[in-house]
Amino acid sequence: MRSRSPWLLLLPSLVLMAALFGWPLVQAVLAAFRDEGGFTLAHWQRLLTDPYFLPALRNTVLLIVIVLPVQLALAIGMALLVQARPRFIGGHFYLWCVPLAISELAAGLVWLSVFDNRGYLNSLLVSLGLSENGVQWLSYENTTTMLLTVVIAEIWRATSLVFVIVVAGMQVIPRDYDEAAQVFGASLGQRLRHVTLPLLMPSLQVALILRTILALQAFAVAQALTGRDFPLLVGETYEWYVNLRNPAVSSAVALVVLALSLGTALLYLRTVRQPEGAR
């Protein structure tokens, strides 16, 4: 009886997970590979020949590859600042966390008012005499500036999540290690490289996994800023499911996102290991 009680306690969450997560997942896999006549790859063929799919895949990967390192560096820098306890640190902390409370779409709209053809940035450039008519940041012809605007908006919006995780991770590192290193004359750089970062690895791992999964899901910011000119994978699932009403192809895109999330999560778990004997 005693050995069964953990399972009994787990049962409600297992049932909920199976009903609300497992079953839809099975449905999605079935939908992506089946039609009236049984097994088919037609939906995948449709997806692969779709002119939006490859750009969406490319944009999503590019966005992650660019945004993630920047966010990580920024978050660690901000966390170190917080650790140093300058004046008004409480105020800074809350200011840095404000974007966490703002919805993705709202953030996109805020940045749209900045980067729009007649937005704040162009008004500023024109009034400073740096440009005659402003720069068409969001024009479909300028993939680079579109990527740039989405990257900036994403960094602004989501760095605070990494920051909060990293701050939490830093606060559980006992100060003794750092002080011991100081006693032995280690410089700031050495302490950061050999003491703080290794001890921070578990938090970084969590932050990386969470941020990558969330970055794979990013779409409202790009949608608000560029419409369909800068497609992202999750935007494609939405487009196929809601606007084109084709759940089969939509499921296929969703499975690509799932495969990417699983792949990167595994990669992080294997590579960003916490060093032996760190604890």
Binding site: Q27, P51, R118, Q136, L138, G227, L244, R245
Partner: protein
């Protein structure tokens, strides 16, 4: 969609969750208070348009609440409610393409309503459409709309000499766009190529029929290649932000665009603000004639309507020439019945009415319809035209291979649906890209 939701619902039910709560979550539309009989419609979805129509409805008849819904969910709602024997809708409003597919057992026969209203004289074409290929009438034609050109006075000054703006050819339009671009130092022609723009209607109902005489059957013909080459040239003289324009009236008002093509409803606010600055023109003609698309909206009564009597009275009230002129004033949809347009129409509406009439009455007019009978797959057919535009015009892909590839996608959808073609293609048994 159906497969997933049904199974998930079944599981949730076994999990003991109330199906009622789920149904409430799935209905997908909310009545905005007021109660009364639900008039579910795919038309006038933007908030201000819906509000203007609600005001009109309140002045016309009481006890009807107007609820809008997107085209895809519309068919799903009606089918599931009628199938379940629990219709909560009183009256339906939608385009021909929304209503005609429901004629297979989801709509009441309204032949008698039409007979009682007989003296309003609908055009025979509309009544033919409303029969949806049967011998009974399934909806009452309600209103029509179309797509036209709008030109600012500044642009008209750059019109190449000897060209009549009210009888343009596609080549004239291109020459005009080039001349205007040179004169202004920037492109001034705008097309609604934004995410919610209706540029695919331009290719479906105007460009391709004018060049090829067809919409679907001629999709990959040699003439279609010429049409896309033309559009590429035209696009080179368009405002680059056209890919962000959903409603042309906005860039027209801001001055970014001086020459535009769009749906009448999406143009009207610019000439309404400054009637002296704008002229409304019929769409251009190509080698095969003047291709134009007529959007026909109708009203239908679903099987098991909550209040068939009130629904009939509402249809009758909204079919009066007087109320249809009111609708033209408030929502810029043109009367479906033969109504004399009064002289006191606002200049913007009067200009539009004139341009639409010239387009329809042209001797070489080729009438196109928005896709019929595709139901929730219509979006995918629109996507074929949108993707073709994106590949050929924006990304510069080779025309022949793009058309061949997209024709395969189009044929795949049509094969699954097994529907006949719609105007201007011949209504053969199965629609096929030749």
């Amino acid at each position: 969609m159906p497969r997933i939701t049904v199974s998930r619902r079944a599981v949730l039910r076994t999990a003991g969750l109330g199906a009622a709560a789920l149904a409430a979550g799935c209905t997908g539309f909310a009545t905005t208070g007021g109660g009364g009989m639900v008039f579910l419609s795919t038309q006038f979805r933007p908030v201000d348009e819906a509000q203007r129509f609600r005001d009109l409805l309140a002045r016309t008849i009481s006890g009807v609440s107007y609820v809008t819904i997107e085209e895809g969910p519309f068919a799903g709602q009606v089918r599931s409610q009628v199938d379940a024997g629990a219709t909560r809708i009183g009256l339906l409003g939608g385009l021909h393409g929304d209503l005609a597919p429901l004629a297979d057992g989801y709509l009441e026969d309204v032949t008698d309503v039409l007979a009682r209203l007989g003296d309003h004289r609908w055009p025979a074409d509309y009544l033919e459409l409303a029969r949806a290929g049967s011998d009974r009438t399934w909806y009452v034609p309600w209103a029509t709309a179309s797509y036209i050109l709008a030109a600012h006075q500044d642009a008209l000054e750059n019109l190449p000499s000897g060209v009549d703006p009210a009888a343009l050819s596609y080549d004239d339009l291109l020459d005009w766009a080039v001349a205007a671009r040179r004169a202004e130092g920037r492109p001034v022609l705008g097309l609604p190529a934004g995410p919610k723009g209706l540029l695919h209607r331009f290719t479906q109902g105007y460009l391709l029929p004018s060049f090829t005489g067809g919409q679907i059957t001629t999709f990959r013909s040699a003439e279609a290649v010429t049409a896309w080459e033309y559009l590429r040239e035209l696009w080179a003289n368009c405002v680059p932000s056209s890919t962000t324009y959903d409603f042309m009236q906005e860039p027209m008002e801001s001055g970014e665009v001086r020459l535009a093509w769009d749906h009448v409803v999406r143009l009207v606010s610019a000439p309404r603000q400054r009637p002296d600055s704008w002229r409304m023109l019929p769409s251009p003609r190509g080698p095969r004639g003047l291709g134009y698309m007529a959007v026909l909206a109708g009203m239908a009564i679903p099987k098991g309507s909550t209040d068939p009597e009130l629904a009939r009275r509402t249809i009758e009230a909204l079919s009066l020439p007087r109320t249809q002129v009111e609708l033209l004033r408030s929502n810029s949809f043109f009367p479906a019945v033969a109504a004399d347009l009064p002289d006191d129409l606002s200049p913007a509406i009067a200009m539009e009415a004139q341009a639409v009439r010239r387009q329809q009455d042209a001797e070489d007019a080729i009438l196109s319809l928005p896709p019929v009978g595709l139901g929730e797959r219509e979006g995918e057919v629109s996507k074929v035209f949108q993707d073709t535009f994106r590949s050929i015009v924006l990304d510069g892909a080779p025309i022949r291979s793009t058309l061949d590839g997209q024709a395969r996608v189009l044929q795949g959808i049509l094969d699954e649906l097994r529907v006949p073609c719609w105007a201007p293609d011949p209504p053969a048994g199965r629609c096929e890209v030749s």
